[in-house]
């Protein structure tokens, strides 16, 4: 059809009609000729924008559904990408060469489980020492015991600080970097001296963020006991909104003296290579079962052996759920948004019946009219999509700031957002546009 139009026009230019109006002499032009569809499409775009401008409030209301849908997807995808990176960098620092043995799993999902795990024996220093002695595949073994307490320095105090009783080997296992000062020594640990390595948050909260090296040598008090700060670790930042820098680490023997009530500890075991992890786990499990007096047949270990995969699995299942919910929310808002757009387009077709009649009278084909309204619908939803991408990124930005994870803007999700909204435009504009294109020009010209 386009070629036909072109050749016809070309013929006419070569041999102008003899009769007909003579408003101006026919002229030869050497301008670039684009296919006629280009001009009608451009006209459609122009019409779409001018009719959207003419009905600003209506356009804005029409957009809400699409904006919400796209914004939800963009925000969630951006946030989760940021979290993914945080999680990846956090867990890969310890890597999958470490496993732990503890009384309770890190993740407990029911009250019954909690009660059951609580009945287990505590994991003790003896347990950890036996593993260190008997497990020949285990490279490093460390002990960590945790408590929460208020930490004071001078007249300042900070509540809910994590107090960790560690063996020196834990610094190596956790790959911790002491930025100022030093770790405690073997001698200090063996003697149960009151020394501490503190996290940057404690420096911020108790020493007004003084330079770390000025804090070394000062005292902090925990539950009435004074500790000399020997080192400050490097700043790790937040994960999921929780700081990883708010802690006081003291030698495990010291911890035992100060926090007698909390006796169950976590044994950390590291192997040199990831490939040896399973074998080492088997050895450690056998040693522990033996210590718990478990027979070969008994299923229950009486302790929990886990790797960081637990956290990664938990994280993955959480994000998978978030994705599903988001996609659901987005789908619903896009469908509702699409219906609203369709409704508005039908109103628009009715309102502009006469315009359609005029356009048809002067030569607009069905395809021209169809395209006009389709383009209008797509323009509406694409604007919605763009706004949605903007709002989504803005929301992600605010949340990322608040929770402290890196912001990863992905062009892919922006393109996806805009294309999905354009697709919604096509889907919801098709029927109104088809209706408009089918209008009888005579009837349409008579419309008010």
């Amino acid at each position: 059809m386009e070629t036909e139009l072109l050749t016809e026009t070309a013929l006419e230019r070569r041999a102008p009609r003899r009769t007909g109006p003579r408003l101006e002499p026919p002229r030869r032009r050497r301008r670039l000729r684009l296919p006629p569809a280009f001009y009608t499409t451009w006209e459609s775009l122009r019409i779409a924008l001018s009719s959207l401008r003419a009905n600003k409030l209506r356009t804005a209301l029409t957009l809400v559904g699409v904006v919400v849908g796209v914004a939800a997807v963009i925000a969630v995808v951006t946030i989760i990408k940021g979290l993914d990176q945080t999680v990846a960098s956090t867990f890969s620092s310890q890597g999958s060469t470490v496993f732990t043995i503890s009384k309770r799993p890190s993740v407990i999902t029911s009250r019954e489980d909690f009660i059951r795990f609580n009945r287990r024996k505590d994991v003790t220093q003896d347990d950890a020492e036996s593993i260190a002695r008997l497990c020949n595949l285990c490279w490093r073994t460390g002990i960590a015991a945790n408590a929460q307490a208020t930490v004071k320095a001078g007249d300042r105090s900070s509540e809910g600080v994590r107090i960790r009783g560690l063996t020196l080997s834990m610094f190596a296992i956790e790959d911790a970097v002491v930025e100022a000062g030093r770790q405690w020594t073997d001698v200090e640990e063996a003697a149960g001296r009151d020394v501490a390595v503190i996290g940057p948050d404690v420096v911020d909260n108790l020493f007004d963020g003084a330079p770390f090296d000025r804090v070394v040598g000062r005292q902090v008090r925990v539950e009435g006991r004074s500790y000399e700060v020997v080192g400050v670790t490097e700043r790790l930042g937040k994960i999921f909104g929780f700081s990883r820098d708010n802690f006081v680490e003291i030698p495990y023997p010291t911890f035992k003296k100060a926090f007698t009530a909390r006796t169950s500890l976590i044994a950390f075991i590291q192997v040199p290579e990831e490939a040896q992890l399973t074998a080492a786990e088997d050895q450690a499990r056998a040693i522990m079962r033996n210590r718990r007096g478990k027979t070969f047949r008994e299923e229950e270990d009486g302790f929990t052996l886990e790797t960081q995969d637990v956290f990664i699995d938990l994280y993955k299942s959480a994000t998978a759920n978030i994705y599903v919910v988001t996609i659901g929310v987005a789908a619903i808002s896009l469908v509702v948004g699409g219906i609203v757009v369709m409704n508005i387009m039908l109103v628009s077709v009715t309102e502009r019946t006469r315009e359609i009649g005029i356009r048809k009278a002067v030569g607009a084909s069905r395809r021209d009219i169809l395209l006009q309204f389709l383009i209008e619908a797509v323009v509406i939803t694409s604007i919605g999509g763009l706004l949605g991408v903007g709002f989504g990124f803005a929301l992600a930005f605010v949340l990322a700031k608040a929770m402290g994870f890196p912001l990863l803007f992905s062009a892919g999700s922006a393109i996806l957002g805009v294309s999905v909204s354009s697709a919604v435009g096509i889907a919801s504009g098709l029927w109104p546009a088809w209706k408009a294109s089918k209008l009888d020009p005579i009837e349409a010209l008579r419309a008010e």
Binding site: T19, P21, P36, Y39, A54, E355, V362, G363
Partner: protein
Amino acid sequence: MESPATIEPRALEHGDLLAHDAVPAALISMRDIWKTYEMGEEPLHALRGVSFDVQRGEYLAIIGPSGSGKSTLMNLIGCLDTPSQGRYWINGKLVSEMDDDELAHIRNKEIGFVFQTFNLLARATALHNVELPLIYAGISSADRHERAKNALSSVELSDRMMHRPNELSGGQRQRVAIARALVNHPSLLLADEPTGALDSHTSIEIMNLFERLHAEGNTIIVVTHEPDIASRAHRVIAIRDGQIEKDEKIR
């Protein structure tokens, strides 16, 4: 070359061109045009076998009381509709058998409409209104501007190009509509009660403009029920009850 004697004689079929009405030379050629509307039980015959020719350069008025079939005839001439029966050629093209999109193309190329109520796009400037047929003809915007400007100046509206219809008087609006009708060099200017919405002074102005356009070589058909307007034409066809009652040259 085959000689005519070798052609097998066969029965005449609908749609065959007969020797005497092979593609007509006239600009408009209507042959036995019927238009029937199915309204309830009784079919309503709006047109009952209308035939006439219009030559290039003619100035024709079609008159008739309301309900005579005048509007139906106008819609057919304007290629807004197709006849139920009969054949209609415009500029050598058989339009009575065309589909919607082909008709749109013919309207764009061959016909310039002038309506009683102007039918301009309210939100568009005079210039853009005049450009409209050129857009659907696929003309580039630079050419469009130039041609639309020329058309507007030929109806003496060069100083109103950027005005919207609601900023123009009735006579000016109708002149914009005439510029739009002429901008794509159609074969035929088809006006439906062009002065119906205008006062008598402006009506005379518009009819003078038509006269000038006719003198410049345009073919014009005016559909009207006003004898004054019809009397400006050179030929008048009177329609009554769906048939041609009278067809006379008056100048």
